[in-house]
Amino acid sequence: MSGGWSLAFRNLGRNRRRNAATAFAVGLGYAGLVLLCGYVLRWERVLSSRAIYLQHAGSVSVYKKGGLENHAVFPDRYGIDPAERAAIGRALAQWDDVEYVGAYLKGMGLIGNGCRSLPFFGTGIDPELEPKLRAQPDVLRWNEDMLHFPAGRGVWEYQGFHAVGLTKGLALLLGKKAVLDEVKPGKALAAAFPDCGKPDGDGAFAADANVQLLASTFGGRFNAIDAEVTNHYSSGMALAEDSGLTGTLGAFQELFGTDKVSYLAVYLRDHGKAAALARALPAMAAAQGVEVEAFPYTDARVSPFYVGSMGFLKAMGAFFLILISGVVTLSVVNSLTMTVLERGREIGTLRALGFMPGRIGAVFVREQLLLAAQSLAAGAGLAWIVKEVVNRAGIRFRAPGFPGSSLFLLTPNAAIYLILAGFILTLVALTTAIAVRRFARRNAATLLSSTYS
């Protein structure tokens, strides 16, 4: 260790109690920030992977120009037909990072159990692509609880009829407590039409998994299809739990009388390039003869829940960062003020010997940096211990906007530790330099005659 650092290290032992208090404040603040960032990071991973893969926004969502706002009202005009899909595919072939391209048809209608009908918001998904999306590493790591159906299996596992999945709330409202795999084989209804005078249809609703979907086709006519409920699932959003429905793209296209889709979702290997693709794609598609607009998953228009939730979490994180930074700063300033007052004569001696205020300040900066480094090490250890305890405790809580309960987990990574450490060290260094500089500039004689120490 060089002479300056060696001196600084020895000086740490001169005011142990005060230094310990400062170290405690810095270390605890650092641990708190690490854990908070770990909490925010966890939810960012959960929400982003959920938005991209499970809610089918993709890294980039591609609509016909004007389609995002209008496809629900004018589905035929703003739907993407097969020729346009092929053209967009040719445009995407020029982009290296594309892993998958999925086609989705969104629509709304009525779902009936023979007696009553309820509105649904549904998505027709690609049955071949869906299992691949659910096997993505990010999904497996951050949304494992969303992968398991409370009942039944995915619609992509069935063929020969229209399989649909219902959100748990919708299934309960319809009385469809059993999914197809749970219906006792051979148990036929006594009559095709349930007793609508009884709340449960005299047991008919739960006796089978059969439902009817009714909607207005793209051509403006009524159409309906039979379907079987093959799973219950959670949408991930409390608002959608009473109306969500998922089916295959083929079923939806039959229901809505079309071969078009609402949008394409482009899944990139590196989601960090989503914004760049979203900017470039319209021109690339125009060269292929299709007018499109593209939105990265970070756009509130395609991922409002993700963007809104992250906005809140980031605001909360920023607030605590400012708060803790203030506490650290004030702790350092307070401790340092006492220290320089006590060591006024020492500073005066150094000034008399020809040390410039800058070099004197550097002495104190080294001391505070060493103190902070030790605090950060302790704080990192504390953060790690708390993280392990919390994560093993399996604490569940109800997050606003989320159906059911969520696991409380803290997942800080190495980058968080390092970045926050660098931030704290920088803050300490600047605070020390500013606090000492003014004092060190005083006249040497004044400093030497200081009576504080």
Partner: protein, 281 residues
């Protein structure tokens, strides 16, 4: 709003209009081409003016009952055809329906186009059921689910104003040269689609000539105009009956539907025809 605005106007409007049409009506006289802004045509001064002096406000309920009769026909059973044309800024889409009614019930079957043949909509009082060949069970459509982008016409044509609304006469206006009473109707039933309706009833023939279907804030959501080119015989009485209804979206006047009524005749139907449990058989 988006949840409820999905139902096909064609079927509903047709069904509604059909359910209200009367039987045994002579073919209607030539009708005007549909206009983007649904406006009621000029009333033919065929019927002799009735009784009350214009200055005296009539009883709103009586006006509504008379006007309803001109859209509902005989309760003992009727059959007629309805041709529906949907205009939404592109090529019009047309469909033809065969309608049979009995009292407040109506059964509407698609006659054309061929791809939709066999589809049935059943009106049981205020409930609507939809069924098509191959479905295991019919699908119910409640009143509040009937708001549609381009013609929840089922409601507009089917609505029994005297039964479902309380009305007051609030003034007088001219509608295409025809003097009419203006009525403000407020829903008195929980399951009506529209909470408020502004209704113009002609003074001389006591027929509904124009209607605006309002939001809770009182803004028009849809506008309808009615033409009564047909006549039906109810007993010994010859009664005016609807021949055309034009329904337009108040916010997008270029989107409208036209329902034309033809070949009505009285016909007794079995009650089983209107039984929803028989639809899936």
């Amino acid at each position: 709003m988006r949840i409820t605005c999905f139902l096909s106007s064609t079927l509903l409007s047709t069904t509604a209009a059909v359910a209200l049409a009367a039987p045994n009506i002579a073919p209607s006289s030539a009708d005007r081409a549909p206009r983007p802004e649904a406006k009621a045509p000029v009333e033919k001064p065929a019927a002799k003016p009735t009784e009350k002096p214009a200055a005296t406000k009539p009883d709103a309920k009586e006006l509504l009952q008379n006007a309803d009769r001109a859209r509902s026909g005989a309760a003992s059973g009727m059959t007629w055809e309805v041709t529906l044309e949907d205009h939404d800024g592109r090529a019009p889409v047309s469909a033809t329906y065969l309608v049979r009614s009995l009292g407040d019930d109506a059964r509407v079957e698609v006659a054309a186009p061929p791809r939709s043949k066999g589809e049935v909509m059943l009106f049981n009082d205020r409930a609507i059921w939809f069924h098509k060949p191959g479905l295991r069970k019919p699908v119910s459509i409640s009143a509040r689910q009937r708001l549609s982008g381009q013609a929840a016409n089922g409601d507009i044509a089917t609505t029994n104003y005297a039964r479902d609304y309380d009305g007051i006469v609030t003034g007088e206006e001219q509608v295409d040269g025809v003097a009419a009473w203006v009525l403000e109707l407020k829903s008195k039933a929980k399951d009506t689609t529209y909470d408020q309706i502004r209704y113009w009833v002609s003074k001389d023939r006591r027929l509904g000539v124009k209607a605006e279907y309002l939001t809770l804030q009182g803004k028009p959501m849809k506008r309808a105009s009615f033409v009564y080119g047909n006549k039906i015989k109810l007993g010994s009485e010859s009664v005016d009956f609807v021949s055309k209804i034009t329904i337009a979206d108040a916010l997008a006047p270029d989107r409208f539907s036209v329902m034309t009524y033809a070949n009505p005749k009285p016909e007794v139907h079995a009650a089983a025809l209107f039984n929803v449990t028989r639809l899936a058989e």
